[in-house]
């Protein structure tokens, strides 16, 4: 073939997003394509930049929780937990055990809900339209429980620095037990429908491969990093809340491709459900709020705390100057960091793969742009 030397070819710049069905919100990537091959990817973000970090500087610690609900609007409770933990460290209080159990149960449920949404939308990205319905069905059950416990389906504002807002209702434990059974069945259904489907495998296996060291250098965390064989899970490596008292497994992939990233999330759903079951077995009685009526004004200082979001390592760096408002809140958004690896993964693949890779990172634009 001598065509390349004989003809001058110009690479086409294909703009994907911010209004594109597969970019999960308002993400934009400019693909440099040669036919169907992607030569380079230039991601553009910031379309949803709401200045959360700056806003948090003018709101009191209690009000900031509502902002954190909206950072990652798919895993709200995990985000609340992240901020509340940072707040507790800086306020020097610790939530009572029961509150910690409630938080972990809800956070793990939210993780399952988030992963279910991922499975559904990922299938949509790849052209299968049924799993999203199954995923949403189960997510809806989980949200019903959230509504029962926190009063809201998505923006809960339930966790507090030093505990939770209100105790769980009396029928919480049986409700969750029943829920776990139903959700597990639903997850299995999605698993059967998608995980080993040959077409799905063809679209995800060996696509968007990123090796461990590169992934670490890019700052990937969560299932995206574990898919590359790096067993980094904040729950395991830097245990918080009551995670040390639970038996669980951290599934780790081998190939670092889209299928690994997808399947680890599927496995995490099962693990999370079993963790919730253990939590329910150990569920203690007791207070739900730490002592001291007003937990409003911390001493000056700074803390860094991180926790495991469905998307990865969600860190909160909190600087306090001794007033009732934080001086600086910095969020380490896992989606933001995962997106750094997008270009590395996508180069050399097809346009259709670019969609599959972006989907497999499970980004939430609210979190990327904050």
């Amino acid at each position: 073939m001598t065509t390349e030397s004989q003809f001058e070819t110009v690479d086409m710049m294909l703009n994907m997003g911010p209004q594109h069905p597969a970019t999960h919100g308002v993400f934009r990537m400019v693909l440099k394509v040669d036919g169907e091959k992607v030569i380079d990817v230039i991601p553009h973000i910031g379309y949803l930049h709401r200045g959360t970090e700056r806003l948090a500087e003018v709101e009191t610690y209690g009000q900031v929780i509502t902002l954190f609900d909206r950072v990652d609007y798919i895993a709200n409770l995990n985000n609340e937990l992240a901020f509340v933990r940072a707040g507790e460290q800086i306020m020097e209080v610790e939530a009572p055990e029961r509150a910690q159990y409630i938080r972990v149960i809800l956070a793990e449920l939210n993780r399952v809900a988030s992963h279910l949404l991922f499975i559904g939308t990922y299938a949509i990205d790849l052209g299968a339209m049924t799993p999203v319905m199954y995923g949403f069905r189960e997510r809806e059950r989980i949200q019903n429980l959230f509504e029962h416990v926190t009063g809201a389906r998505m923006m809960h504002n339930y966790m507090r620095i030093g505990g939770v807002k209100a105790d769980v209702p009396d029928d919480f434990v049986p409700w969750v037990r029943q829920l776990i059974g139903e959700v597990r069945k639903g997850v299995e259904e999605c698993d059967k429908l998608l995980s080993t489907n040959e077409v799905f495998l063809g679209r995800t296996r060996g696509v968007g491969v990123i090796d461990g060291p590169t992934a670490i250098s890019c700052g990937l965390t969560g299932p995206s990093l574990r898919g590359s064989g790096v067993a980094y899970d904040v729950r395991k490596d830097d245990p918080y809340e009551i995670y040390p008292y639970l038996n669980y497994k951290v599934p780790v992939g081998e190939n670092g491709d889209c299928w690994d990233r997808y399947y680890l999330r599927m496995l995490e759903c099962y693990e999370s459900l079993s963790m919730i079951e253990q939590c329910l077995d150990q569920f203690p009685e007791g207070p739900i709020m730490a002592a001291g009526r007003r937990i409003a004004r911390p001493p000056a200082g700074e803390v860094f705390s991180h926790s495991e979001n469905p998307r990865g390592d969600l860190g909160v760096y909190l600087v306090s100057d001794g007033t009732d408002k934080p001086y600086r809140v910095k969020i380490r958004p896992p989606s933001f960091c995962n997106l750094v690896g997008l270009a590395t993964m996508t180069r050399g693949s097809y346009i259709a793969d670019a969609v599959a890779i972006l989907g497999s990172l499970d980004i939430v634009l609210g979190e990327v742009d904050r």
Binding site: E53, P169, G219, H306, Y317
Partner: protein, 189 residues
């Protein structure tokens, strides 16, 4: 929450106001020592101190997060030592700038996935035309963090080839992360 189960709400009223009931409603206070490293943190801090040697200007820490302050010019060298040295900080977990009005402090949270330790590097920059060496040659993760920090705080990163706005749009004036940037209230209809 008023729509809580009415039984508890009905029981509550008198007791809720009585101060004697407070300890029962809330658990015992658990006080965490302030700015004190725990055992794990001490180990990390010692390791960090031996890695960085004379670069350290200042150091302290909280829980298991020891921090060291280094000179802004030495930060790249310090980060490189952290990454390549025995301490093995292979991940740039978080990078942020804090606007202390008289200075801008850069904070780098490094994480080691091999032994699960965190260290925090800090470097003070002048408030006027802050600049610090880019870490993009050490961690790819730094590219976006640096662009973001450049957007929001106006910190310059010599060494980062692409400093186009990340979160803000092209041609945005000012640096909204700074305390001096006004938080405008918009006119509501």
């Amino acid at each position: 929450m008023t729509e809580q189960d009415p039984k508890a709400a009905a029981e509550a009223p008198k007791e809720a106001a009585a101060p004697a009931e407070k300890p029962a409603r809330h658990g015992p206070p658990i006080v965490i020592a302030e700015e004190v490293l725990n055992e794990r943190g001490e180990q990390t801090a010692a390791q960090l101190a031996s890695t960085l040697g004379t670069l350290v200007l200042d150091s302290a820490g909280r829980e298991d997060n020891p921090w060291v302050r280094v000179d802004a010019k030495e930060l790249h060298a310090a980060a490189k030592k952290c990454r390549d040295g025995e301490i093995g900080m292979d991940m740039l977990n978080l990078m942020l700038a804090v606007d202390w009005v008289d200075r801008i402090q850069m904070i780098y949270v490094l994480y080691s996935t091999t032994n699960n330790r965190k260290v925090i590097l800090k470097a003070d920059l002048p408030a006027e035309s802050p600049a610090i060496d880019s870490l993009t040659d050490l961690w790819e993760a730094a590219t976006w963090y640096e662009r973001e920090t450049h957007d929001l705080f106006g910190v310059d990163f010599p060494g980062n080839s692409d400093m186009s706005p990340l979160l803000l749009y092209e041609g945005f004036e000012g640096h909204p992360g700074l305390k001096s940037y006004p938080l405008n209230d918009y006119e509501e209809w």
